[in-house]
Symmetry: C2
Subunit: 413 residues, 2 copies
Amino acid sequence: MTGGRWSRRSALGLIGAAGAVGVTGGFAAGVARDDDAAAPQESVVPFHGRHQAGITTRVQQHLYFASFDMTSTATREDLKSLLADWTDAAARLTQGREVSPEGATGGGPYKPPDDTGEALGLEANALTLTFGFGPTLFAANRFGLESKRPKELVDLPSFAFDLLEDRFSGGDLCIQACADDPQVAVHAIRNLSRIAFGRAQVRWTQLGYGRTSTTSKSQSTPRNLFGFKDGTANVFSNDDADLGRWVWADGSDQAWMNGGTFLVARKIQMLIESWDRVRLEEQEAIVGRDKARGAPLSGGSEFTEPDFDVVSTAARGPAIPADSHVRLAHPERNGGARMLRRGYNFVEGNNDLGQLNAGLFFLAFVRSPEQFIGVQRSLAQDALNEYIRHIGSAIFAVPGGIRTGESVGSGLF
Amino acid sequence: MTGGRWSRRSALGLIGAAGAVGVTGGFAAGVARDDDAAAPQESVVPFHGRHQAGITTRVQQHLYFASFDMTSTATREDLKSLLADWTDAAARLTQGREVSPEGATGGGPYKPPDDTGEALGLEANALTLTFGFGPTLFAANRFGLESKRPKELVDLPSFAFDLLEDRFSGGDLCIQACADDPQVAVHAIRNLSRIAFGRAQVRWTQLGYGRTSTTSKSQSTPRNLFGFKDGTANVFSNDDADLGRWVWADGSDQAWMNGGTFLVARKIQMLIESWDRVRLEEQEAIVGRDKARGAPLSGGSEFTEPDFDVVSTAARGPAIPADSHVRLAHPERNGGARMLRRGYNFVEGNNDLGQLNAGLFFLAFVRSPEQFIGVQRSLAQDALNEYIRHIGSAIFAVPGGIRTGESVGSGLF
């Protein structure tokens, strides 16, 4: 159990010498990208690279997202050491290894195990861990990072229909864990939370049980809880021009953001029971797409560009209505702005009226928060607003990729 | 989109004529049982049979469980018609079809779609839907079922350390949805809830993100959130003698329970952060097994029977301590009593102290509730009690399997 070359499976002797999954030549590869939908469930995503993994990576099936606050007494040194410790642990966990060389059972009987053990025997399941920094981390009289704050890293403005709750919003730090097995994602956040003890504490977390977007056309477009395909017009991970224009920051504002991006997180409750009482024609008019195939109401198939000039005689107006989601969210109406979305569905029991607490945990990676802000302002007219409520909001600056031997955010210090 | 021979995928034309998944000769097969761990993710579990599916079925990866109450004005006829409608819908959903022939898009533009659509394009994913009846359904002055109540179907007694909350407890009816894709399980419960509108309403629901047990030794034993293997001593689905003795009711009390069973559901919160501070030796002493392999502390490997007489010189007492979970839960200490367990992990954010709301949603199928009651009383001495809290509890009578043309619980009327 010592040394780094043991996976969780080989540590248990389950697959013996063949078990050193993830310890391959790809470990030191450049861009952490995997847009092959046919990749096996056991795939391992490189941790190091020019960009952080978990952004252009094929969207995994499950999410566990955590927002952290630094403790009230934490110092700049605490932050620095935390990021170093998190980096070491993440480099191991994403490769299917235990959180430390001692792991769950190798540290001897007289101390709490380093690793909590619930992922023993599970493969890496394409785990990615993506780190971000919230605006509050750069506040005055905290960690001496005022001059390192990206200009655009400020709280999002209020939007029409916002019903935000503190308990789902904000945070000094975030970690997005995505994996094809939820236990692997939960295990990673739990162990990173333990490492943070005394330095940072969990502010809020979000379990996403199923992806609602894709970053590759070779992955089928999933459906959200309104039953419609979501993310058809996403930025795809194989389009370097789009990524350069809409996702990756270039470091001209803050050098440490070179190869980084901004992450916008929104917890969107869906009023499922109300939506389910809407007739099909109206559902499709609200979304602007047909339900079966996801084609725009102006005609064609899922990936046909919407034509907003097409007129419908039946509707006595535009085939894609003026207040439809597709029209208002479309780049054409928003100065061309696009986003790389990686949202997940959530379901969390029900309220006292027996209605579902469910919806979409919206995650978008953007070169500038203005891309999101512009679209969200445009959506003030969205007919969909009758059926959704934004109840949580957060923004994080996501630093560029991590090189071997470096820590995430080392450019801050 | 009319007729019954279309799967959700073929309805969309995604896989054309080859898409009629689930409409196979196996549909009318006898026992709904699948203990082959190597079964493909897209497998279809027969709905009809001598027993309900979802009990001895290979434990799927995900759970969505719902407890319902009949509405205050619901009549006996309402209950009867609800069970008939649920049966029709469940027979379709479990075979990968939409909830009705009209489905999500085939009912025309002027009505709300029958099917909510979020599972369009997804296979059956081994979906099973298992129905049960709570004690309150048989109360006087409700549905005229007083004489049909199984003698043993009464609320569970109070146990040491119970901290039960109404919002996680009880219910007139339950549906256990298990599938290898969580969206498929959520979709099923959501659509069955819609069908119940005006007759029954959701009381509480539970999402389980990962299985914590197995009903077959060919499936690897999963780990709970304490990092230990769970369910090693389960009743296995290939052991007919055990099933007959510990799981299936014979109908000698109530004829309609022939081939049925009782379902005990317990929501068990785990005090994760406290547990994570316990040293390895103590964790293993509390559980009575070693963490790495799940072997009893008396020696051997995972499936070696614990030997409670083995003495440990180091521990100056029994190798498997007197207050260990394994000893107190073991059949040898409980009149031989065993259970078929199908529990799932849950994670639901965190409390105001930043601690995880997480634990085990315990589900056990037993021929008699006494099997559970005896073991749970024995566990009053369990050292594990310091780290867990039972916060929800329910019991349901699960009727026998459904024959083609019949409705679930038709023997009640």
